[in-house]
């Protein structure tokens, strides 16, 4: 027996969910797994480091982005299961996945590096290098949403879209990338994610940290992107509880409501209003 398998039982303890992701897209599942493991030292650093940025611990941001990209990459890997095996292992899909994984690793690497230096990553234009890297982060983000949206479109085009779950998975990824991408792009044209209110993340909503004193552009970005999960989950739930004729209309309804919610939270933030005002 190889000594290393004693140190880390890689094969036996892996969950079935993760196994499905590896069948959907091995590189994206592997990248997600790596980022998931990286959350452990990141969380430890959060406990050991007293430095703050925007009023909160410097390691909050890397931890949130790691969690977010784990969810996103696993979602894309699972959505690809909606394509027949020969359709999900084409050169196009593998190239899109490689681009997406590279962009994700770059974003996390720079966000973590800047956290370790106690400096901002997004919106940091203090030096020419920081400005260049912020621009590269923008390119990375565009790659992430463009490749995700493309994969969503491939599922809509080549998948069994008469199945509500497949339709919702493809539409969710396409719509989520488009809406989340637009909200993110607008945010990048601003000097920060706050609109009015206190320029700090201190006292924000639990976990997400959204401002309670003014508008926060991260809300619409979040709501939009997570349609990629909301739609397939709604469709899956519908297959359990709703009669067949109502399932597809439900998916369309959730897509419409999600689009509306993204638009509403976007307008709310631009007007300088918090999602949940401070009590």
């Amino acid at each position: 027996m190889h000594t290393a398998s004693i140190i880390l039982p890689t094969a036996s303890y892996r969950s079935e969910m993760l196994g499905h992701a590896y069948r959907g897209q091995p590189l994206l599942a592997a990248t997600a797994s790596l980022l998931l493991l990286m959350m452990i030292p990141t969380a430890l650093a959060l406990g050991l480091d007293a430095r703050t940025l925007n009023g909160v611990n410097v390691w909050i941001k890397p931890l949130k982005f790691e969690a977010s990209l784990v969810v996103h990459l696993l979602t894309v890997a699972w959505v690809l299961l909606c394509l027949p095996p020969e359709r999900r292992s084409t050169r196009l899909v593998r190239s899109l996945a490689a681009l997406m994984a590279a962009a994700a690793v770059f974003e996390i690497a720079y966000i973590a590096l800047q956290a370790s230096r106690g400096e901002a990553s997004h919106f940091n234009v203090a030096t020419p290098t920081a400005r260049l890297l912020y621009t590269l982060m923008g390119i990375g983000a565009v790659i992430l949403v463009a490749t995700s949206g493309w994969i969503g479109a491939l599922v809509l085009r080549h998948g069994q879209t008469s199945n509500p779950v497949v339709f919702a998975a493809g539409l969710g990824l396409l719509l989520g990338s488009a809406l989340g991408g637009v909200a993110g792009a607008y945010m990048s044209t601003q000097s920060g994610h706050w609109v009015g209110g206190a320029l700090t993340d201190l006292g924000g909503l639990p976990i997400v940290g959204w401002s309670r004193s003014g508008g926060d552009l991260r809300v619409a970005h979040f709501v939009g992107l997570h349609l990629a999960q909301a739609l397939p989950i709604a469709a899956w739930a519908a297959t359990r509880v709703l009669p067949e004729r109502l399932r597809m209309p439900l998916v369309v309804l959730v897509a419409a409501l999600g689009t509306l919610a993204t638009g509403a939270t976007f307008v709310q933030a631009v007007l300088g209003l918090p999602l949940v005002p401070a009590a």
Binding site: L8, A11, Y22, P26, A30, M38
Partner: protein, 145 residues
Amino acid sequence: MPVSPASLFGLGNMVALAGWALLASGIAFRSTLLKAVGGLWVPIALCTLYTALIGAYWSSAEGGFSSLDGVAALFRSPWMLLAGWLHYLAFDLFIGAWIAADAEARGLHRALLIPVLPAVFLFGPAGLLLWIGLRAAFAPAAATS
């Protein structure tokens, strides 16, 4: 040239750097000999020097391993500080070679070593942790492709 901790430090660094270069070449050109020279013989040379330094200077050094102050006192001796540094150099290089062998044994792509070996070279344990993570993350990917 008088043998001083500083001169042996320079020599140790040079030898370790040569070891890493040989290991990297061995991986790049698939040469077992280069990998063995860089990843095993160079650590053996560093370990030999370390052992001799411990033999010669341990008993006269102050401090010990049982408290952080004790370790700080130990490292105030330039010879013990040098021995400690050689420990890093030897073990980091050996771990780098082990990781390369591990990747090969598991059929994982050599490209995965590109971020890992520099990380081991600079921040040994963080690099090892990165490899353990990458190995766990990519093993099922290698199995399915």
